[in-house]
Subunit: 142 residues, 2 copies
């Protein structure tokens, strides 16, 4: 099934109309490999010459999340958004570089349904110095 058809089907299936603005927001998200914030989304749309309000961007990503096309994360204290595939998965999210990997394997640690795993990816871990690693072990907003 072509992706464009899946998007349309999922939107209407969730009772969300495929309006011009929502499609524009979705197009920016499709072009971005990493999660981006609502403000970045807004700036990119203005760059493309598409006038849109920041409020509308927030409502658009909310609709896209409701429809299951987009997944939301929390990075450095703010919400970020990225398009995701239709199959059940969870995420590995690097708090250093922002990389997000979709994982289809089910870890099922202690009967836990995993949704998101926050940590440091291998390249960032190699780059980090040992004392920095021990400095701020689990602070959510560095």
């Amino acid at each position: 099934m072509p992706e464009i058809l899946r998007w349309h089907a999922q939107l209407s299936g969730a009772g969300v109309r495929a309006t011009r603005k929502r499609v524009q927001v979705l197009e920016v998200l499709i072009a971005e490999p990493r999660p981006i914030t609502a403000r970045q989304l807004h700036a990119e749309l203005l760059n493309r010459g598409e006038p849109i309000g920041l409020t509308t961007v927030y409502r658009a990503v909310s609709s896209l999340v409701d429809a299951g096309l987009v997944h939301a994360f929390t990075q450095a204290g703010e919400a970020t958004y990225r398009v995701c595939g239709p199959t059940r998965h969870h995420h590995l999210i690097c708090r250093s570089c922002g990389l997000v990997l979709e994982q289809t394997a089910e870890p099922r640690t202690d009967g836990f349904e995993v949704e998101a795993v926050y940590g440091v990816c291998a390249p960032c871990a190699r780059r980090a110095l040992p004392e920095q690693q021990r400095d701020q072990p689990h602070r959510p907003r560095p």
Copy 2:
């Protein structure tokens, strides 16, 4: 080593003085099995008849996190805090009931250094209805 001594040692080791207010904040956190927010911490201290400013609570938890006594999480869009053991570990955090489990095993998925795993714990997963599960898969702020 008794815990009280470890706390004192870790505080001075991090250059953090064991002030009256900081100890009061730590005492509330020790009594709480689940992570709580700065505002809850503040309210509990006022309940106990300990006058303290909210700003001071924020600075106290920040110091305690710096000293490694307390770990910080993000739950429902706001920071929460809980005392943690001294051994290296990561966490399983249920986004439904707020339960936090310390995990000492290293999953090392794809060379990833795991810090926090967000998901739904087994009891909450059983309680949830199927359609609810699919509704909001990864929204950080429900």
